[in-house]
Amino acid sequence: MSVASVSSNAPGSADSRPTPPPRVTRLAIIASKGTLDWAYPPLMLATQAAKKGWEVGGFFTFYGLNIIHRRRGRRLRVTPLANPALPMPVPSLLAALPGMTAMATSMLKRKFRGRRVPTIDELLEQAIASGVKLYPCGMTIDVFGYGTEDFIPGVQPRHGSSDFLDFAKDAEVTLFV
């Protein structure tokens, strides 16, 4: 008998059990900030992970809910006030002047566009289409008085922090933004 004819998958042998599918890497992100600059990190990380074939869940809590809010999400802004890291071409003292937030928001959008980074709307659409699960925090929904209709299409039903912890427990990568 040749070596090749000896089957290790003969019925009844220990190796005949079906091999479980390889476990997919899981990423759990908590998004807690609701300004334009801080909307990008969780969505960029989520979409890049989805591109790798990872399972991704994002928990949007407190001001992070703004990112997936139907109206507020379209009006995300960034302020230069008390934000020394923002590369604004004006002295910090002038950051409190009216119109500076609009200027900073416009500038940041231009910078992102210049580096081929999709808009927040585009990232959200692509994330949802790629299977990223976006969970709005149930407690924050109640605190801010939102309804389920206030969120963009494709967002998951409200989620409790306890439920998300169960999801994050088995994640290889967990991030708080």
């Binding site: 999709p118 808009t119 790629s130 299977g131 990223v132």
Partner: protein, 131 residues
């Protein structure tokens, strides 16, 4: 510009039929935002990558994500820029195609619907792009 004989081209009729059946396909619109706001293919995703693609930027579609388990059909106005997008997407491992003729061809696509009327059969002829 892609033509229907190009293996990377996706014919308008094929896309229309696929979408009407609720088929598994991702449509990626790469036109500028102002053009997309005028009209778009229902259910399509958008990434305003037109300028970057025309400039030959290899990172034009480097960010963002698309479903990997179904084909991607890139769409632009005429089917030229979407050809560039298709090449970049294929380099990233996507099963990507370019909509031949772009939105111009889509606007000229026709389809029919049969409507049930008492005592008669009514065929409604519609231009896909006009609804």
């Amino acid at each position: 510009m892609t033509t229907p004989s190009d293996p990377a081209a996706f014919d308008v009729e094929r896309l229309r039929a696929l979408l009407e059946r609720g088929g598994d396909v991702t449509v990626l619109d790469v036109r500028p935002t102002v053009e997309r706001e005028e009209w778009s293919i229902p259910g399509s995703l958008h990434q305003d990558a037109y300028q970057a693609l025309r400039a030959g930027d290899p990172d034009a579609l480097a960010y963002g994500a698309l479903p990997r388990d179904k084909p991607v059909v890139a769409v632009c106005a005429m089917g030229r820029t979407s050809t560039i997008a298709t090449r970049l997407l294929r380099e990233c491992g996507y099963d990507a195609y370019s909509l031949a003729g772009g939105m111009k061809a889509w606007s000229l696509a026709w389809n029919t619907a049969e409507l049930a009327e008492p005592g008669a059969s009514l065929i409604q002829v519609r231009r896909t792009g006009k609804g």
